[in-house]
Subunit: 192 residues, 2 copies
């Protein structure tokens, strides 16, 4: 899914002039920030966007087994951080190519998931595979298609993946795929 090396979540030095930052309340603001006493630069921190696909081939879903930490060996959907200049759909397609080696057709933005305790916002697109062909990229040990009764529920990598797959199979039975929005809280993660 994504690397855990966050971009400068906590900064020590000023990105503009290299001075050591101090914690202070900038004028007109309500939060303490890391600010530069020399050049006035303010180090803002905002949630990071993560985008991926839920790839569908006939009755099956494609999952990737992670080759890297975190959650190495567990199954996930292709996805990762959206890059500067990308739309979330472009990030989803790029990550699917990098991690699973195919270019699906995006059907729609299917889910937006706030993950405030991880400082992330996740976007997942329903995606039609054009063939059953996939090629695991460097971050994937394996890519495989799963029918609903084959999903490795106890070996999924992230709560967002569990939420999304459960929702998908409910929607498939109902025959309708609205755009879902949810906020994942730590206290919600105990129940499977």
């Amino acid at each position: 899914m994504e690397k855990m090396s966050f971009p400068a979540r906590e900064a020590v030095f000023c990105a503009k002039c290299g001075s050591r930052l101090v914690h202070a309340l900038p004028p007109g603001e309500t939060r303490t920030r890391a600010v530069c006493p020399k050049c006035g630069y303010i180090h803002y921190v905002n949630p990071l966007p993560v985008s991926g696909t839920l790839p569908v081939w006939k009755e099956k879903i494609l999952l990737c087994r992670r080759a890297i930490e975190p959650r190495k060996g567990f199954w996930t959907l292709p996805g990762g951080y959206v890059e500067s200049g990308e739309a979330t759909s472009e990030g989803a397609l790029r990550e699917t190519w990098e991690e699973a080696g195919f270019r699906p057709e995006l059907r729609k933005l299917y889910a937006v998931m706030d993950v405030p305790f991880g400082d992330q916002i996740h976007f997942f697109y329903l995606a039609d595979m054009r063939s059953e062909h996939s090629v695991p990229g460097p971050e994937s040990a394996e890519c495989r298609l799963f029918a609903e009764d084959e999903i490795p529920w106890n070996s999924l990598a992230f709560p967002t993946v569990t939420y999304l797959l459960k929702q998908y199979f409910l929607d498939r039975r109902a025959g309708t795929f609205p755009t879902h929005h949810t906020v994942l809280r730590p206290e919600c993660l105990a129940a499977p």
Copy 2:
């Protein structure tokens, strides 16, 4: 809406050790990044999340006239950057409080707008005002309720606001408010 002082979009110095960054292709990556030759820190840049509300009171919509640049004097919806640790809904409520002085009831996530040329992703919530009362904050010169035929279409601050208001009045006529998703491209901005 939001301040335009982006967080370290282009960094010159390492946030971790203060050394001067160089442009290089990190191992296993496909993009050139600003990386630290001393400590290995990589300066990632990702789109920033912006969240706000579309506040409704009876048949009217609340807009704020901007007291600050960019687009000072133009009308906008309450919104701004989502802070670290916030869900997008929490950011929308906070910004509405800061810019318009009231706490609406959020009805749903109404729109997700990719703005890749501005390196932002916008979230807007349909929000029911609990009264017609509002108080302009420091970033707002004025807050006012507008009926559909009073909307200052030629004095709106941002294309996202124009898109959202047009969509809202269409949906109100149709009597249904699905979650919308769109990608705003520079070439789409010429047409009103």
